[in-house]
């Protein structure tokens, strides 16, 4: 959808977003007000600078990557639909959704999609593999500057060694899923959006 100049949210839009993401009416309006408060340019879309203006995000080691995740490939602006679509990954999985029929498209906040979102944050070049370098980059961001490269390298090697099953020296998505099977991803990757 192209960027819209209007700042009001229309009912049909709310309905569409509801269907696509599963958020409730009140959650959508609440997040819309947050969206508009971030949107300093008042043009109905957010740019990277708008995100970077959030102070806590600046000190977050993964801040840049998270911001990038909101923007679809190659674009510099994200509208409200895109904003909601990304946030939908973090909606808690409800019990009634667990038993939905598998014939429909998978909801955005299914366990698989949550893990895919996280995987994409590691895998910047989108080759469906987390290579040693990509892992090193993430480790370096999380650990800071005090630790030597070699040390991080050995940690990265160890990590890949633990996870890698097909011997290609990188972590594929299925290996990633397997490694995290003990972690309660449904809980860890969910935010309780207040009603």
């Amino acid at each position: 959808m192209g960027s819209r100049a209007s700042t009001l949210l229309r009912e049909e839009e709310i309905e569409e977003i509801k269907k696509e993401t599963g958020f409730s009416h009140s959650q959508i309006t609440r997040l819309y007000s947050r969206f508009t408060s971030l949107d300093k340019g008042e043009n109905g879309t957010l740019s990277r600078e708008d995100f970077q203006r959030i102070p806590e995000l600046a000190i977050n080691p993964l801040g840049d990557r998270i911001i990038n995740a909101f923007f679809p490939e190659g674009e510099d602006q994200v509208n409200f639909r895109g904003f909601m679509r990304t946030l939908a990954h973090f909606r808690p999985i409800e019990d009634n959704e667990k038993n939905k029929d598998p014939s429909g498209t998978e909801p955005l906040n299914s366990r698989n999609n949550k893990l895919l979102f996280a995987f994409r944050l590691y895998d910047l070049d989108r080759d469906d593999k987390i290579s040693r370098d990509e892992l090193l980059q993430v480790l370096r961001m999380m650990v800071g500057v005090n630790i030597s490269d070699e040390q991080l390298g050995s940690i990265a090697d160890r990590t890949i060694q633990e996870a890698d099953q097909n011997g290609d020296n990188s972590i594929s998505f299925s290996e990633f899923i397997k490694v995290l099977e003990k972690v309660d991803v449904e809980q860890k990757m969910s935010i309780r959006f207040l009603h």
Binding site: F51, L62, I66, L87, V183, D184, V185
Partner: protein
């Protein structure tokens, strides 16, 4: 497993027979001990006239070669006997395989207590009752400290809201429901209970409604239930102490007067907040003190565990002085001090703390249950069918109702909802135990004439919950297919990804403007890293990121496992890379605690060398000092010394004519190992500890003190102190023994050292740049 030609049946039978024989011997021993205990109890009633004053009418008796004087050791003797009895019983249960899998230990111990009490009755002695002072001041703290120190913080803090709801609201509901309904029942005609007024009933309700941590621990320990349920029930049992304390004091105060006004209720609420928060604050204060103290213990490693124990106990006692919640103080103290203390203390102290806590809490638990049994036989009982049965029924009903009702409310706020199965286990796991008994026993007989009835009822409820619920919970868990605890250790992948997700979620929360769980946790972590860690953790460890600490721990564990399983020796192929990793620190001084990464083959080879040489050095040990620790290859300094050895070898290759670079003497790894034994952060300059009572044993070391300075310089410390290596260690291992294979190099070393000593006074090129790595 068939042994050779024996058939499996025969083996099984013979094993059973030997086990049974063993148990019989154990029983005989116990009976013997009991008689030994009981007989002196009778004998001691007659005062013992010991060595006398010089009376004028003393007649001359032959000098007593052997005399019997029991009374002056009586108290410790009896205590030791009880502890011995408890431990032997524990031992015995685990020798009988079938029994320990059916009946939980707590039940068996109560039965043993009953038997012992009965035995003492039979002999004519009065069985002792579980003294409340003894219980609250001596037996309970170790268990709580053990629980608090090893409390898994992550699931606890994630579920804190739920736990608090159950602990506070649940306990309040239980006490008032039970108290109120009991009062109603008492008022019914025909039960001759009408003298039990409302307030004593409410007091009884308060006492009986608290879930007991000791009993919960004892039972849940054996069923290995999943982490969430375990932490829910256990956390509830710990945190409801505050509620119990307040309610108990409130009702006890006003039961005599007979009425409670609104003001009293309001004061009670305020009191609850004060008790809970005050207890936590007191505990946190002592925890921080303890963490701060542990920062300076690098020279006196032997007493490190003592600080942990004493500070925690002081926290408990201080809280008890003000009638605050001692349990919460203890939990807060243990939880607050743990991350900092563990970063500061040596590996050995860590093990000591862990095992001492486990030992004490185990003995305490055993003693508590045995005493419960004995007290049952001892105490005056007043059985009232109505009261007791109504109590038991109400306990169950109120617990179930409380859990179900609370879960309904809680699930609205939880991401992972509690299922019906979970609720059932939480309700069923609400065991009562010795705390209720002790509180009941503390009641004043004057003010509460129905005290004996209360105590009887309490004991019955305890027996019911421990026996019936304790025994049936295991098969029920299996029947309902409740998720069990996952036994596998955390892998590095999980650690990395969990941290990654933490950051991710914090970021998303910030984008949404939602100040949730992750946001505050992140803030706390940041505050911790920036300010608190700097104060409380010694040296460079304060800057160590959590991931690195985790990785280091994991590697250590693996290395130790490798040794214990006798790993094979492989020749290293990657020595340069592993060595260079330590040396190349861009623009930063070498961290005091160099984090090692050595290929496993290298580890093995070096371990082998250490093992061989250590045997020899033990023989050469000339003197021994109680105050310092003997060097040990498995002490956490050994990996540093391994790095150092590699560095040495590298340097030897490269510096044949590089005079200004000091050649570290070949025995430096040994010496530094010896030093490191008392201080793993050996790379930092140690102040001369002249007040330490050490005996220096200098075993003909060819090294003069000057060469020690080489080592220091080599280690890039700023302050060169001549007496640096004297502090903290006794034994100087003779260098000749260790470096037999480097004998040839020693001569060339000596020459270089002489050259070096000349160079020291005359700094050559590059001698002042400490940070420059030796390897290009």
């Amino acid at each position: 497993m068939p042994l050779g030609s024996l058939s499996p049946d025969l083996v099984g039978v013979s094993r059973r027979v030997s086990l049974q024989r063993g148990f019989l011997i154990l029983c005989a021993l116990v009976v013997l001990l009991l008689f030994e205990a009981v007989v002196p109890l009778g004998a001691s009633s007659s005062p013992n006239t010991t060595s006398g004053k010089h009376g004028s009418n003393r007649t001359k008796k032959p000098f007593p070669v052997l005399s019997f004087d029991y009374s002056h050791v009586r108290m410790p003797f009896e205590i030791s006997l009880w502890v011995l009895l408890a431990s032997l019983m524990k031992l015995g249960f685990h020798l009988i395989p079938r029994l320990s899998s059916i009946v939980p230990e707590s039940c068996l111990l109560i039965v043993v207590g009953l038997l012992v009490g009965g035995l003492m009755r039979v002999v004519g002695e009065d069985p002792p009752v579980l003294d409340s002072n003894l219980f609250f001041l001596c037996l309970l703290p170790p268990i709580i400290l053990d629980a608090g120190y090893f409390l898994p913080m992550r699931p606890f803090s994630e579920n804190l809201g739920t736990i608090l709801m159950f602990a506070v609201v649940g306990t309040l509901w239980n006490s008032f429901f039970m108290g109120g309904l009991l009062y109603g029942v008492c008022q019914i005609q025909g039960t001759n209970l009408s003298e039990v007024t409302l307030l004593p009933c409410l007091l009884f309700g308060a006492i009986i409604s608290a879930v007991d941590p000791v009993a919960v621990l004892a039972v849940f320990e054996e069923i290995h239930i999943n982490e969430l349920l375990h932490i829910l029930v256990f956390g509830e049992s710990l945190l409801n102490d505050a509620v119990t304390v307040v309610l108990y004091h409130l009702f006890e105060e006003y039961a005599g007067i007979g009425s409670v006004t609104v003001l009293d209720v309001f004061l009670g609420v305020v009191s609850f907040l004060v008790v809970a928060l005050g207890g936590v604050l007191v505990g946190a204060f002592y925890g921080i003190l303890s963490a701060f103290t542990s920062r300076f213990t690098s020279h006196t490693r032997v007493i490190e565990p003592l600080f942990v124990f004493v500070y925690s106990y002081m926290a408990y006692l201080s809280a008890e002085v003000f009638h605050l919640s001692g349990i919460m103080a203890l939990i807060a103290c243990g939880a607050v001090m743990r991350p900092y203390v563990e970063a500061n203390i040596s590996h050995k102290s860590h093990t000591t703390i862990k095992y001492f806590l486990k030992m004490w809490s185990s003995v305490s638990e055993t003693l508590i249950f045995i005493f419960l049994g004995v007290s049952t036989v001892a105490g005056p009982h007043s059985w009232n069918w109505t009261f007791v049965t109504v109590t038991i029924v109400l306990c169950l009903v109120s617990r179930v109702l409380g859990v179900v009702g609370l879960t309904y409310v809680i699930n609205k706020f939880r991401i992972v909802k509690l299922t019906t199965k979970d609720q059932f286990i939480v309700a069923y796991g609400g065991l009562r135990g010795a705390i209720a008994f002790s509180l009941g026993y503390l009641l004043d007989a004057q003010e509460f004439p129905m005290r004996t009835m209360f105590v009887t009822a309490i004991i019955t409820v305890i027996f019911f919950t421990v026996f019936v619920q304790g025994m049936t919970i295991r098969p029920l868990v299996d029947l309902l297919a409740v998720k069990k605890k996952q036994e596998t250790k955390r892998s590095i992948n999980e650690e990395i990804h969990t941290q990654f997700l933490d950051h991710l979620l914090t970021g998303i929360e910030d984008i949404c403007g939602h100040y949730g769980h992750h946001h505050w946790k992140d803030k706390l972590n940041r505050f911790n890293k920036k300010y608190v860690k700097k104060c409380l953790i010694a040296g460079e460890r304060s800057k160590e990121p959590q991931l690195i600490a985790f990785y280091h721990k994991m590697e250590m564990k693996q290395a130790i496992e490798l040794v214990e399983s006798g790993g094979g020796v492989k020749l290293p192929s990657a020595v340069p890379s592993t060595v260079s990793m330590q040396n190349i620190q861009p623009k930063k001084p070498l961290p005091d605690r160099a984090i090692p990464k050595i290929s496993k083959g290298r580890e093995e080879e070096i371990r082998k060398i250490l093992r061989n040489n250590l045997q020899k050095t033990r023989q050469r040990l000339r003197s021994y000092n109680r105050h310092t620790l003997v060097a040990d290859p498995y002490e956490d300094g050994w990996n540093e010394l391994l790095i150092k050895r590699q560095k040495l070898m590298q340097m030897e290759k490269k510096m044949s004519n590089y005079l200004t670079v000091p050649a570290a003497p070949p025995d430096s790894p040994t010496l530094s190992r010896a030093r490191l034994a008392s201080d793993p952060q050996a790379y930092s300059s140690k102040p001369a500890s002249g007040d330490l009572p050490t005996i220096k044993v200098d075993l003909a070391s060819p090294q003069s003190p000057d060469s020690m300075n080489l080592v220091d310089e080599f280690q890039k410390t700023a302050a060169l102190q001549k007496d640096d290596d004297d502090g903290g260690l006794v034994m100087k291992v003779p260098p000749e023994d260790k470096e037999e294979e480097q004998k040839g190099e020693q001569d060339s070393k000596k020459e270089q050292q002489q050259r070096l000593m000349r160079c020291l006074s005359d700094p050559g090129p590059g001698g002042d740049d400490e940070d420059e790595p030796f390897l290009p």
